[in-house]
Structure formats: C-alpha cells, structure tokens
C-alpha cells in the first residue's frame, strides 16, 4: 500500500491524466549521439551528454531528450554501434601533386593507422559498467554503410606509373569505411533494460594517449569537423496515450 499522496496522484492520473500508465507500447528506436573528434585528438569524448538545442548541437548530432538519460521512457538496449561521419571527405586532394603529404589528404589514413585502430568505449548505467568495448570503431561498427565505392582502375587519378627515377606517381583513390555487415554489430545479448530517468554514461577513452587526426588537410574542426557517434538500437517502451 502506497502513501496517500501516491494514491491521490494515481487516482487523479486515471481520471484526468493524458497518459495511461497501465498500458505500454514498444517500438523500435535508436538513440544516437555524435560529438566532434578534435584534430588534436582527446583523452576522452563523452556521448549522450548534450541535447539538441544546446549551442552547436542539432538533431543531426543527437535525439536525446535529456542529458544522461532517456527521460520518461524505458529503453531495451539490443545493440551498440559506432559511426564516423564527415561532411566533405575531399579525396580530390589525393593527387600526384600532393605526393609528399598524401596521408593528410584522405580520411582513409585514419582508418588504416589512426584513431580507428585505437580507443575503448565505456558504457555504464549508474556507476556500474555494462560494456567495455575495445577498438570500438571496429568492434562495434554500424549495421550498414551507404558509403560504398566500386574499386576500378577507371578511378585512377594518374596514368600508369612512370618507372623513371624521380617520377612520383599516385595510383587510385583510397576508400575505406567501417565494416558494413549486419553480423558485425555489437549485439547486447542478453538485452539491457535502461529504466526511465536512469543515469548512464558513454565515453570513448584513449588512456594510452590521444590519437591526433592524420587527414589534417581534410578535417577542419570548424568548417569540416570530423564527427564520431554512438548509436543505441533497441525498443522504446512508453505509456499509451
């Protein structure tokens, strides 16, 4: 038996409320949070710490209703994905003329030898850890990538290499993405139910040292920022109206 005030609120809610808390609805839902990966790298990046509408944060960055929690809905977490996005990859710079600085001309460098090869993702509910994912951009990739590219020699920028000494050549365009196989997604099995208003934290940490961006001619923190994201996929549980 609850306190009298609870009984009063319950009775009032049933008669005059706009929500029916005795019946719940489940829909597939994704919560996502993208933050800027600074060119200089960082020791920690925090996700789900901001909501859309804050300075510089739009619905493209996050759909979280409340910092650090899912607000008044429950969420059954089924999978965790990471994502990497940049507005303009600008691989046009990968040319023979830029032979001396090619690593800085395509984001593929960062996939091969940069931050994609490092990091650890920490997910905790309350203060209790529920996932520690190594190399999360590889271990927890997105389920699909639309950034497909058909490797063909038609894409070669230059002609066949010139064997003469001193003749620098660049062959093809580098194009690398996270894996895009549904089976590679980090499935949370058994699922984790995160209750309404439950505080949680998601951080991407580099305890062995920050990893600067290699493609510095592509990434610009102000005009073409590199964004990294974490996506929680699962079931949103909300009361029927």
């Amino acid at each position: 038996m609850g306190f009298q005030s609870e009984s009063i609120i319950s009775a009032a809610s049933q008669r005059f409320g706009v929500i029916d808390y005795t019946r719940w609805q489940a829909i597939r839902w994704q919560w996502y949070s993208y933050v800027t990966y600074p060119s200089a790298g960082a020791s920690t990046l925090t996700f789900f710490g901001q909501v859309a509408g804050q300075t510089g944060v739009t619905l493209q960055d996050t759909n979280l209703p409340k910092a650090g929690s899912f607000g008044q809905t429950h969420f059954q977490l089924k999978s965790i994905s990471t994502d990497i996005q940049i507005a303009n990859n600008d691989v046009d710079g990968f040319t023979r003329a830029n032979q001396a600085t090619l690593d800085t001309r395509a984001l593929a460098s960062d996939f091969l030898g940069g931050f994609v090869q490092a990091g650890v993702l920490n997910f905790a509910v309350g203060a209790r850890p529920f996932a520690t994912i190594l190399k999360p951009f590889q271990y927890a990739p997105p389920p699909g990538s639309p950034l497909d590219y058909d490797n063909s020699y038609v894409n070669q920028i230059s002609a066949a290499p010139v064997p003469a000494a001193g003749a620098a050549d660049v062959v093809g365009l580098p194009w690398i993405t996270q894996t895009k196989m549904r089976n590679n997604v980090y499935f949370v099995d058994p699922n984790i139910l995160i209750e309404a208003e439950q505080q949680f934290t998601v951080t991407l940490d580099f305890p062995s040292g920050a990893v600067p961006v290699l493609a510095t001619n592509v990434v610009n923190d102000t005009t073409n920022p590199l964004k990294v994201g974490v996506i929680f996929d699962g079931l949103l549980l909300r009361p029927v109206q």
Partner: protein, 249 residues
C-alpha cells in the same frame, strides 16, 4: 560459525547480493606488443592494467586500451562464460609508433618495398599455435590461430591506393599496395560450443607459440617515406567474448 557470521553481515551490510546474479555480454582481452627482434612465444593475460608490456620495453604501461585484466592470470571475482575466441595482429596506430612517420607514410610505407613490414606481418598471420589452459589443464590447442580464430572485426578496405617514386628500391607497379589482415567478418569467428565456464580465480595461461622458429624480425624493416629503415610496433591480441556473470548490486 565464521562463515555464517560473514554471510549474515554481508546480507545486512554488503554492497553486492550474492544470492542473485546478473549476466551481461562482455569481453576479456589482452593486447601485447610483439618483440621486434622476434620471439617464439607471446603470452596473454599475464600482465594486468598498470603493468609494463614486456614486448614494448620498460616504459610502456598497459591501460584499458590493451587489457581489462585487473589481476594477473585470472578474471578475478567474476564468472565468465566463454563463447568466442578471437585473435588480432596489426601495427599499432601511427601516433604510438616509436618513430615519426611523416606525411606520406601510409601510402608508401608498409608495402612499397621488398621484404616490407607488411610482408613480415603476413608471415606472422600465417603462423603460430594458440594454447589456452585453465588451472594448468589444456583446453584449446589451435594451429594458425589468426586464420582459425580471426578477429571478426576490422575495417572495410574498398580501395587502398598507393604512391611511389621511380626509385629503383620501390618495386611495386600499378595497384599493388596491399594490406595484410585477418578475417573481419563477424560470422567467421571461432565459436565455443558448448560454452566454457571459467570460474572466479581460476588460473589462466594463454600463449601463441611459434614452434618452427621465431616470428619475423621487424627491426629495421625496409619502411618509411624515404625508403629508410624503421622498426614498426606490432601488437598481437587475444579476445575472449562471452558473458560476464556477476552478483547483483
């Protein structure tokens, strides 16, 4: 009487409820640097967070990026249900290499030269015998572990591209830049069926041995933007994927 008293105190004042257990997916992982001059054995789960990595010299301390082991050779006070064994071998990211890599290292460095670092890595990926013991009893003995127990994660290289000069030392021709790596498909991992329960405090010994001889010598591998020689840092990894079984709080 002592166990009863402790049990009673724990139930009244303890921070964990040992009568109820929680199951969450989790990994136990350990990445170690490969000794550059070559070695005939690489041990895993020997050095916890904060310890030095034997393959990396005395100054590199392991962090959560290399291992989540908090205790030497055991998973501590948790049960772990092992469902997958994954291995890993690759170069560490450029900013953690022991030398300055330059700005066209990626597209000329690893593969452009004869007997390159990438060729050496490919040799590592084709060798080895993984042996795992629990409480000194052999449970797994897997030849060519990087083939049989691939990581099941990685990146998707659709076009690698390359660059070259006409320098005679660079023997590559059009489109020959390549990257050696194990299978990145999640469906290819080595599944444990039936699953293997590892009880708390059980001693774990895991190693990849190279009985036919040492791993290739990466010291002064032909590699860098000026066709010079450097010693790239390579890390090997062993990942146990499964379920952590822990008391509720």
């Amino acid at each position: 009487m002592t166990p009863e008293i402790i049990d009673s105190l724990q139930k009244r004042f303890g921070s964990a409820d040992f009568s109820r257990y929680q199951v969450v997916r989790g990994q136990k992982y350990d990445f170690v640097r490969l000794a550059a001059a070559g070695t005939n054995s690489v041990s895993f789960f020997s050095n916890p967070i904060g310890a030095t990595d034997p393959g990396a010299g005395a100054t590199l301390f392991k962090t959560l990026e290399q291992t989540n082991l908090v205790k030497n050779a055991s998973f501590g006070q948790e049960y772990f249900a092992l469902t997958q064994i994954r291995t890993y071998a690759n170069f560490v990211c450029q900013s953690r290499q022991g030398f300055t890599t330059g700005t066209n290292f990626t597209y000329r460095g690893y593969t452009a030269l004869t007997n390159s670092a990438m060729e050496q890595l490919q040799t590592v990926l084709n060798l080895g015998v993984l042996e795992i013991k629990f409480a000194q009893k052999l449970y797994y003995q897997i030849a060519r572990p990087f083939v049989q127990c691939p990581p099941g994660f990685g990146i998707d290289i659709q076009s690698l591209a390359s660059s070259r000069t006409g320098n005679a030392a660079e023997t590559q021709v059009s489109g020959t830049n390549w990257s050696a790596r194990a299978d990145s498909r999640g469906t290819s991992v080595y599944n444990i069926d039936p699953i293997q329960i590892i009880e708390p405090e059980i001693q774990i010994q895991a190693a990849i041995n190279f009985p036919n001889g040492n791993t290739p010598n990466f010291t002064n591998t032909a590699l860098d933007t000026a066709n010079g020689t450097q010693t790239p840092a390579v890390e090997l990894g062993l990942i146990f994927d499964g379920y952590v079984i822990r008391p509720s709080q």
